[in-house]
């Protein structure tokens, strides 16, 4: 019994970097709850994917200019993220039928540009760092940044929760009734970019969207109401973060991918469990 407890909490008792990583992941999970759930409900997971890659060229430029400076990386990421979000919106309005293809193009070109820029100065290790992040390298300043972004995200989502939810479901209605429309979409996209930037150091451009979407997808298997889905999403995110960090520590695996893999397992379990329950209900006698 005590052996189990040691396995579960020792890494965090012994190492400050494990504690910081855990707290950073928890802070990220709090903001990822509403953002990830709304992304899925709006059927915008592909858009989220594109934006997470769009952060890369800017972050790479920041790296080129200032090395591993949190401010430079974040500012660069924010800039290209916002740029791509705006241009994706324009293209979607201008050529709606080519939206999917355009999004794929944005995502591939961003990735390619990012890799090219990093390779100009950095080593392969730097490239891995930008692509997959290093949760365990998050320092106190990085943690403060993540916590600030998460708090701001939660406050903003709480403030505009009602129009945001309505705009996700029936934008035409909100627009017709004069409640604004595009503005809430823009605020939401800005929040997505901001959170991807804050996840960037921990999970890198390729995986930043993982902790955002996987627990959200798992949560939406279990409940059909938005608030409970967000709460469950946060809880599942916490579980995935903790399990992933633990796994990476004991099995000596890279931590970011372990957390994302744990999220994937949670989603698979949720999918199968709720699927089985549904099938059982459908074939139940008298059901």
């Amino acid at each position: 019994m005590s052996g189990l407890v040691h396995t579960l909490i020792d890494p965090f008792l012994s190492f400050a970097f494990m504690r910081t990583a855990l707290v950073a992941c928890l802070a990220l999970a709090l903001a990822n709850g509403p953002i990830g759930t709304l992304l899925l409900l709006r059927r915008m997971s592909l858009d989220g994917d594109v934006l997470s890659h769009a952060v890369m060229p800017g972050a790479a430029l920041g790296f080129l200019y200032a090395g591993y400076s949190l401010a430079a990386l974040s500012l660069g990421g924010l800039l290209t993220g916002a740029l791509v979000a705006a241009s994706a919106g324009l293209v979607a309005r201008w050529q709606p039928k080519r939206k999917e293809a355009s999004l794929a193009a944005f995502y591939l070109v961003s990735l390619a540009l990012g890799v090219i820029v990093v390779s100009l100065r950095g080593s392969n290790a730097d490239l891995m760092h930008v692509l997959f992040g290093t949760v365990l390298a998050v320092d106190i300043r990085g943690l403060m940044f993540i916590a600030t972004v998460s708090s701001a995200t939660l406050l903003i989502v709480a403030a505009i929760y009602r129009p945001l939810a309505v705009e996700s479901f029936d934008p035409a209605f909100l627009r017709a009734i004069g409640g604004g429309g595009g503005l809430f979409r823009d605020i939401f996209l800005a929040l997505v970019v901001l959170n991807l930037v804050s996840s960037f150091q921990a999970f890198g451009t390729l995986l930043a969207i993982g902790p955002m979407l996987l627990p959200a997808a798992a949560a939406l298997c279990w409940t059909r109401r938005i608030w409970p889905a967000i709460a469950l999403n946060i809880a599942l995110g916490l579980v995935a973060d903790y399990a992933g960090l633990l796994l990476s520590y004991h099995a000596n695996l890279p931590s970011g991918p372990s957390i994302v893999a744990a999220g994937g397992i949670l989603y698979a379990v949720s999918l199968i469990a709720t699927g089985l329950a549904r099938t059982e209900r459908a074939f139940a006698p008298g059901g």
Binding site: L41, R43, W94, Q95, P96, K97, A159, I160, R162, P163, A165, V166, S168, F169, D170, A172, F173, L174, R175, A176, I177, G178, G179, G180, L183, F184, L220, T223, R224, R225, I226, A229
Partner: protein, 307 residues
């Protein structure tokens, strides 16, 4: 003598320093308060204008005139997704009229409705109505809504009261009664807690009609209200439309079923991008006009379907 007066002067000026400092602090504080108040007003008016534009308690007050308003359309041209949809439409929907908009597929019927509802912007021309935009209610095509979205029937219907609570405020105490009332009228009694994903197409359409009932609008715009809806529901909803017409609201509906239009809709606008005919239904829906509508659109599109 001179020495002591010098000292006194110096003492006086030293004593003045805290006073001056206090005055300076007060001035800075006043400036700060003024600045914060001004900034607060700016933020507040920005939020009211852009974040909470739908909050119009004065409009939603009970007893607001439900008299329908006329809508005048002048030289209206609309593009939808890059394609010309409506071209140079001029005319008037009379106050309290019940008008069907018919025409071949791609004739611009839905785009016209979207412009009237204020969802789409006109390329050229203008729409004029004495009723403000908040007095318009719009029923989208079913296919435009994500019916898997996790929202209950009660919540959906409650949106009709948006003007009375807007983006940030607590709904008024009278709202639940209005919701229950509307759901009863639309034949959805006891459906409040159900998810819309569990509704049939007909029940979902009833829920959207209930939302319009709560909106209590002067102008009701319906985009293909009876498509994919079962016969019984269609009958019930047609009665609601007739009821709105009797109450004097202006109702405009995009429809496909010509017999239905002949039976229930006094006025018709036959559209094939441009206006083919507009007026009394019997005069508009002649075989000649219908054929002309198909021909007009077939000239530019290979897949015309007679309405």
């Amino acid at each position: 003598m001179g020495n002591s007066s010098n000292t006194a002067r110096r003492r006086r000026s030293i004593e003045a320093i805290p006073r001056l400092a206090r005055a300076a602090i007060a001035a800075v504080r006043h400036a700060l308060v003024w600045f914060l108040q001004a900034a607060g007003r700016q933020v507040g008016s920005f939020a009211r204008r852009h974040l909470d534009g739908g909050y119009r308690p004065e409009v939603s007050e009970q007893g607001a005139p439900r008299q329908g308003a006329s809508i005048e359309v002048r030289n209206l041209s609309v593009a939808y997704r890059d394609r010309p949809a409506v071209q140079d439409l001029t005319g008037q929907f009379a106050a309290g009229s019940l008008t069907a908009v018919v025409g071949p597929n791609g004739a611009g019927k839905s785009s016209l409705l979207k412009v009237l509802a204020g969802i789409l912007r006109a390329q050229t021309g203008e729409v004029r109505s004495p009723a403000s935009a908040e007095r318009f209610a719009y029923l989208p095509q079913q296919s435009e809504l994500d019916r898997d979205f996790p929202v209950t029937v009660g919540e959906l219907v409650a949106l009709g009261g948006w003007r009375s609570f807007g983006a940030f405020r607590h709904p008024p105490d009278t709202l639940p009664a209005r919701i229950a009332d509307a759901m009863g009228t639309a034949g959805l009694e006891g459906f409040g807690a159900r998810q819309i994903a569990d509704l049939s197409a007909g029940e979902f359409q009833r829920a959207l009609f209930a939302r319009i009932l709560v909106q209590d609008a002067a102008v009701v715009l319906l985009d293909e209200p009876f498509t994919a809806v079962d016969e019984r529901t269609t009958g019930d909803l047609l009665q609601l439309v007739q009821c709105w017409h009797r109450e004097g609201r202006t109702v405009i509906a995009v429809l496909h079923d010509i017999d239905q239009v002949r039976e229930h809709f006094p006025s018709t606008l036959l559209l094939a991008r441009s206006c083919i005919a507009w007026g009394d239904t019997r005069a508009v829906l002649t075989p000649d006009n219908l054929a002309r509508a198909s021909r007009t659109l077939a000239a530019s599109r290979p897949d015309p379907v007679a309405a």
